[in-house]
Symmetry: C2
Subunit: 349 residues, 2 copies
């Protein structure tokens, strides 16, 4: 991707410093950011609000593969997965810190592209980059992001407050990021076998983008606010629908009935899953990385949401003793189980 003759070695930045170089053009926008990068710590003002904090680390070879991940997309995604955690609390993200570890194999231009993606995401979601740490890495690329946000205490929505009878809702559609990943992995193998064959991703833009460039659902949080709907519980879908529904049930000490036929799956996701001999429902339940919002609402709010094309009502909360059930299209009742894409990864977010 980067021609060595035209690139700049990171080691040659000298005392000017990589982080100075990458952050010199930052414009702070949040009124709560009193001091950004440039001192021992940033100084922020959350007067009158509660402060939210969440953090996520992305590691090369575990969370991303540079064989098919553009640096700019990667920077964008690193921010989105963190913003998503703040929206999942029904709050507004306001600042991020970004620490990166970079091996000297990367040219400066690659890291600049990474930061371009970070800045595009910050700009679009109106958050300030206020701190970070840049270090050499002996291994691969490491990106650690921490996000801060704010909310009125009464507006904050936790995972453990779902009530019996509440409706289970999810935004957007599910399984796309996972099937997009299958596609990218396949084309990578084809390329490794024969570098002259161009990747065949034609017509698959949507699911490839779901994997490489997810969007945190700021719009859904704003929509709910505009409708005066406060979810009774909320979580973002990072590890797969099943895992997230179970988090809400376990932490709320409740059960659920989830209806397979109601789970929103895009036709392209469906078709691609079939191409790979995968069950599209399993992709939605266990695929992860969709960064949609899963939330529960009171039945009284049903009419406000029922006709919105981007919100699906997929089940309801029951008493704990009724169990956590998936009702299949054929009407069979199965116990809902989590099978995340990476059992070892287990984050707060």
């Amino acid at each position: 991707m980067f021609d060595n003759k035209e690139t700049t070695g990171i080691n040659h930045l000298g005392e000017f410093g990589l982080i100075d170089h990458l952050t010199k053009n930052i414009e702070l926008k949040q009124p709560g950011t009193l001091k950004g990068i440039g001192d021992d710590a940033a100084v922020l003002d959350f007067t009158g609000k509660k402060t939210l904090i969440s953090t996520d680390m992305l590691l090369e070879g575990i969370h991303f593969d540079l064989a098919y991940t553009p640096f700019k997309h990667l920077g964008y995604k690193a921010i989105q997965v963190n913003l998503s955690d703040v929206y999942a609390m029904n709050a507004t993200p306001s600042q991020v810190t970004v620490s990166i570890g970079v091996s000297s194999k990367f040219p400066l231009e690659a890291i600049e592209e990474l930061y371009q993606g970070i800045y595009v995401a910050c700009e679009k979601y109106n958050v300030d980059l206020v701190g970070g740490d840049t270090s050499a890495s002996k291994q691969g690329l490491i990106i650690s992001v921490t996000v801060l946000g704010y909310a009125d205490e009464a507006d904050i929505v936790y995972r453990n407050t779902a009530q019996e009878g509440d409706l289970i809702c999810v935004s957007g559609d599910l399984g796309g990021a996972y099937t997009g990943l299958q596609l990218l992995e396949r084309e990578k193998l084809v390329y490794l076998e024969n570098p002259n064959i161009q990747p065949d991703l034609e017509g698959k833009d949507y699911i490839v983008e779901r994997q490489l460039k997810p969007e945190a659902r700021k719009d859904i949080v704003e929509l709910l606010k505009a409708w005066s709907v406060t979810p009774t519980a909320m979580i973002d879908v990072s590890d797969g629908l099943a895992s997230e529904v179970l988090h809400i049930c376990t932490q709320s000490n409740k059960g659920c009935n989830l209806y397979e036929e109601k789970i929103p799956i895009d036709p392209m996701t469906y078709e691609t899953a079939r191409e790979f001999n995968l069950d599209p429902t399993i992709c939605a339940l266990s695929g992860g990385e969709d960064y949609e919002l899963l939330f529960t609402i009171k039945q009284a709010d049903y009419d406000k949401l029922k006709n919105h094309p981007d919100i699906s009502i997929i089940g309801h909360i029951t008493e704990a003793s009724a169990g956590r059930n998936l009702i299949t299209k054929a009407g069979a009742v199965h116990e809902l189980k989590a099978q995340g894409w990476n059992a070892f990864k287990n984050s707060q977010g």
Copy 2:
């Protein structure tokens, strides 16, 4: 260090999850921590205060060497280097998040020891662990810490507010962490050549501990408060005295006179530097990782500090045009230059 027969593989924790296992006994102590680990984000209350945030990442092979770094010390140090950044703002740290990347080569017991060190530091400094992310790593051990703190706005001390005539002060002594590192590196080489030879660190506890288990200078911040001394500028010594003095001068647009004979160096540091044919003053100026506080005060505050054994007055601030000068013991005047231990590393903190 860990006998494989008695250890537990990280991969076998199953859906219980590594982070749950490591954080299940947390007791929150800060009244401002409304919700800690267990949701998409932690919820904090900074009512009436400004919020400080800083972040630092430690990478195996770059910032630490597991050949001679006990996991417990490493966890402790990862917290201290972050707390130090908040104290350097004259503020009080209150919460941390910790993300780790761990390769499966580590037994669970190693990671538990790492967290023991983290918890000991949190307990001692009264900060809550409120979030984090745990992931598999294909490479080595990665630790990313973000710290939050608070202060009244009027108490916050920046780097860019030193005034002409202010006295330059530093806590503790300098160069110890660097000479301790030289010692540990030498004993590692001896061990690699002949594993039957035990490391010879006798009588060197102080400088070894300076390297492996630094302490953030909470006591100095409290002392200054008790004396009603607000520094005019402050920074912590992470990259070496010269680098930090230059940060204050550059950001304040001032010059300085720094007196070599006033730079506090412990006798053990001095002696060990000489053993390695190193100039002790260079170790203090460029060694880094001492995590002492460098600050400037008004001359009117001189009498309050002058007799304290743990604070040294090492120079004064001048107008910018006078330059940044190091006056040697022989009376020669040199331009002060930064030669940090790792030119590529350049952090906010």
